[in-house]
């Protein structure tokens, strides 16, 4: 992936700061990767190369770790992330139906980001809210009892938010309020 203008400098700056703070022992590899991803949203190749150099290990080993753990991603995520819980309780009452609904509405597959980088969709292991199954994490907020209709509601709320931001027209604010209160 080609980096946008200025991205290179940002990456180098953050990686350097984090390495300076964390130290250069191999044991720090995972915390360093976590912190870099927190800052950048993903792990660009350049960041992994600099981390490898900083910790004095082969680049392929850093790539190995980054591809082993679910947490790490190699591509920038969408502005908003939908994480559909696929724990047992959620699966049994329609977690896969929720995923399919998102896939249909967003026209992407799980693990992908919409072309405008606005939304990304992934499945996650049990988030531990089994009693509200099926559960979807909308960014960091937990939405319980997510039916296909609810999926429409969640997306509609984002649409009206965008409209509000872009056009400054007040329409749809009530619907957003509604979403908050029945959440």
């Amino acid at each position: 992936m080609t980096l946008l203008e200025g991205e290179r400098e940002v990456i180098l700056k953050h990686v350097k700061e984090i390495l300076d703070d964390r130290g250069t022992s191999r044991e720090n590899l995972i915390p360093v990767l976590q912190q870099v991803q927190d800052k950048l949203g993903y792990l660009p190749d350049l960041a992994m190369q600099k981390i490898a150099a900083g910790l004095d290990i082969p680049t392929v080993d850093v790539y190995g770790i980054a591809t082993f753990y679910n947490q790490f991603r190699m591509n920038p995520p969408g502005d908003h992330q939908f994480k559909v819980c696929m724990g047992t309780a959620c699966y049994m009452v329609g977690g896969n139906i929720a995923i399919e609904s998102f896939e249909r509405r967003l026209e992407i597959r799980e693990g992908e980001t919409t072309p405008d980088r606005k939304f990304s969709l992934e499945r996650v292991a049990c988030v531990g809210c089994c009693t509200m199954a099926p559960v979807v994490l909308v960014d960091e907020e937990v939405e319980g009892h997510v039916t296909p209709t609810r999926v429409d509601g969640i997306l509609l709320a984002f649409e009206t938010e965008t409209e509000k931001e872009e056009g400054k027209n007040g329409e749809g604010i009530e619907e957003k309020e509604e979403r908050r209160s029945d959440a």
Binding site: F68, N70, G94, E100, G128, V135
Partner: protein, 631 residues
């Protein structure tokens, strides 16, 4: 000069803490459960409403966040204590109820009995938890204070005997005595395998080394299990105290809590707890004035289920892939950084303070002879009272599901109970009377596991459930060893074919053979236990496999390829249009006679029409095998 002993130092701390906690009772107190389950149900909004209303009315009321009481089905929960009344607990509190309670109870003196769930202290006006049928079966040891004390304030824990066990251990007990106490208590590891804790600690203690480590495994990954998270969110100090005692026993000065990064709230609450413990000298150098030094750090896991396996967990702490190693050597001899390491589960450490404080005999008096103490389960799935329960070992599954969980909702039939997550198994009705303990469950083909318990009813397909778990383990396999990497994939492929109606009877034999070989031949416990969901469903629900293969029929109408949605004309109403609007793909149309019908070519089987069809019509049904009735 008089030497101040650990117990004296502790008594001083406790007196101060109790004074503080008692002083809270001089004015009304609202406690709101803000563990993840509460937050998800909207506890924060409820808290804000309370705050606002109390401010508007100018009342003098304290508001406090607490953890989870285990009654997750009734979240958000609020407890209101007002001088002159017993404390009342209210369930499913929304903003309206919050306003009402401020108005009626806090401002005036009407506790709104119609909304109260339970009173906490014995009284003659309202039932308490002891009047609940489940109280006869429950026995709370590690959940005792969860949901009642403020997890963000160490003094609340101390006021309830917290850290008394540590003081006792440091002052009165030699490490050998602690080990014999642990051994006598019969405590077995609660991570799933049930290894005796005394034995593990003793092995680590007896391995000579300058440096040793204590690690708490909080990488709770079983889908459908969240006990560890709740314990850490609701009462983190009892786990820290357990780790301190373990460290003192084996001679470790450094410990780690390895926790999933998907548990941000738990991480935050542990961080606060560690800070507060450090501030008053319960972590750091010369704890309680003794020569014992110990400190704790958090390590955030990166999302790999296999890291729940101890050697994989340690590998990942060392900056490597979370890949299990062959044993021996054992952790207690050569673990983190090659040093002797005690690695126990959250709940295991949480039991330790009680055992030291109340003695091994007390712990042994609860449970069965081979499995002492209690078992903590998350009760989820098709059961009326979902939540967290703690029962003595030996309680039967039937008591747990039907007495404590109050059975299956919506008048459905019980079908099976899944215990132990992806490593466990599905047990049928005929096995419900077996007692819950490590050995009885293993004998029936399930495992105790870490405590996830999912109830399944007639709408759940056992082949699909087995497939679900296989898909999980297959995705979470580290990929190192042949049996687990490739064997689980082949089993999954076969199960997928069966759920699609493309299976053959010979597949069942191959499944059985593969399952047995994977169980015997895999390197670690993830692989060794991965076949359990298949082996148990083949053993107890073979007829469902056969229905899929021989008749192309899914008895539970769950497998998408073997069902179709159908609107029964006799039940459908011309006046109602709900299903048409609910269909995301415009597959539902109005027939010439005004009734609705489904275009099977377009239908994506999303279940929306069935869910939205008004109950007075109830006209949408599923048919399996997918054949339309002849008109």
């Amino acid at each position: 000069m008089k030497v101040i002993t650990a117990v004296e130092r502790y008594t001083e701390l406790k007196t101060k803490a109790q004074e503080k906690v008692n002083s809270l009772q001089d004015k009304p107190l609202v406690r709101i459960g803000t563990a993840t389950c509460g937050l998800a149900a909207g506890a924060l909004q409820v808290k804000e409403t309370f705050e606002e209303e109390i401010k508007n009315k100018g009342l003098d009321v304290r508001i406090q966040e607490v953890g989870c009481m285990g009654h997750c089905y009734a979240e958000p929960l609020a407890i209101i204590s007002k001088p002159g009344f017993p404390s009342f607990c209210y369930g499913k509190v929304d903003e309206g109820l919050a306003k009402l309670l401020v108005d009626s109870f806090l401002e005036n003196d009407d506790p709104c009995y119609e909304y109260a769930m339970v009173a906490l202290e014995p009284n003659d006006i309202f039932p308490t938890f002891t009047d609940f049928p489940r109280d006869a079966y429950e026995k709370k040891i590690i959940l005792e204070h969860c949901g009642f004390i403020d997890p963000g304030d160490i003094e609340h824990y101390i006021a309830h005997e917290g850290y008394a066990a540590l003081a006792k251990a440091l002052e009165e007990m030699k490490p050998e005595e602690i080990i014999s106490e642990m051994t006598a208590s019969g405590l077995r590891g609660r991570g799933g395998a049930g290894f005796p804790v005394g034995k593990k600690w003793s092995l680590c203690k007896d391995t000579p080394d300058e440096v040793k480590y204590i690690i708490c495994n909080a990488d709770e990954g079983d889908p459908g299990a969240f006990m560890d998270r709740n314990v850490l969110e609701s009462n983190p100090h009892q786990v820290i105290e357990g780790m301190l005692i373990s460290a003192y026993t084996v001679g470790a000065e450094k410990g780690y809590i390895y926790i999933r990064n998907e548990y941000p709230l738990a991480i935050q609450r542990i961080e606060t707890a560690l800070e507060q413990a450090r501030e008053i000298g319960l972590l750091g150098d010369s704890i309680f004035g003794s020569p014992f030094n110990f400190d704790l750090e958090i390590f955030e896991g990166s999302g790999a289920f296999v890291c729940g396996e101890e050697s994989a967990l340690v590998s990942s702490m060392e900056g490597k892939m979370g890949i299990p190693q062959a044993r021996p050597p054992y952790m207690a001899v050569s673990g983190f950084r090659g040093r002797p390491t005690v690695l126990n589960n959250v709940k295991t450490f949480a039991y330790v303070p009680t055992i030291i404080r109340k003695g091994a005999d007390y712990f042994k008096s609860v449970g069965t002879s081979d499995s002492s103490g209690t078992a903590v389960f998350t009760l989820v799935g098709k059961v009326a009272n979902t939540g967290l329960v703690e029962v003595p070992m030996g309680t039967t599954l039937r008591q747990l599901i039907f007495d404590i969980g109050e059975g299956i909702p919506a008048e459905k039939e019980f079908k099976a109970v899944q215990i132990g997550g992806p490593s466990g198994g599905c047990l049928p009705e005929t096995k419900l009377d077996i007692p819950i303990d490590f050995d009885s469950l293993a004998e029936a083909g399930a495992i105790m596991g870490s405590g996830g318990l999912v109830v399944l009813d007639e709408d759940d397909c056992m082949v699909a459930i087995a497939r679900y778990f296989l898909e999980f383990t297959q995705q979470e396999s580290c990929g190192k060893c042949t049996f687990c990497r490739l064997g689980t994939k082949h089993m999954l492929d076969i199960l997928t074919r069966i759920t699609q109606g493309k299976g053959e009877m010979a597949d069942l034999e191959i499944l059985q053979e593969l399952a047995e070989d994977i169980k015997m031949g895999s390197l670690c416990n993830l692989g060794k236990t991965a076949p359990n969901p298949i082996l148990t469903t083949l053993r107890y629900f073979r007829d469902e496999y056969e229905a899929h293969i021989l008749e192309g029929r899914c008895p539970a109408c769950m497998c998408k390829d073997l069902i179709l949605y159908y609107i029964v004309p006799e039940k459908c109403s011309k006046l109602c249009n709900v299903c048409v609007g609910s269909c995301p793909v415009e597959a539902i149309y109005t027939r010439e006679d005004g009734l609705k019908a489904i275009d099977q070519e377009k239908c994506v089987k999303c279940d929306n029409c069935l869910k939205t069809c008004p109950p007075e019509h109830d006209a949408v049904i599923k048919l399996s095998p997918p054949v339309l009735p002849e008109d």
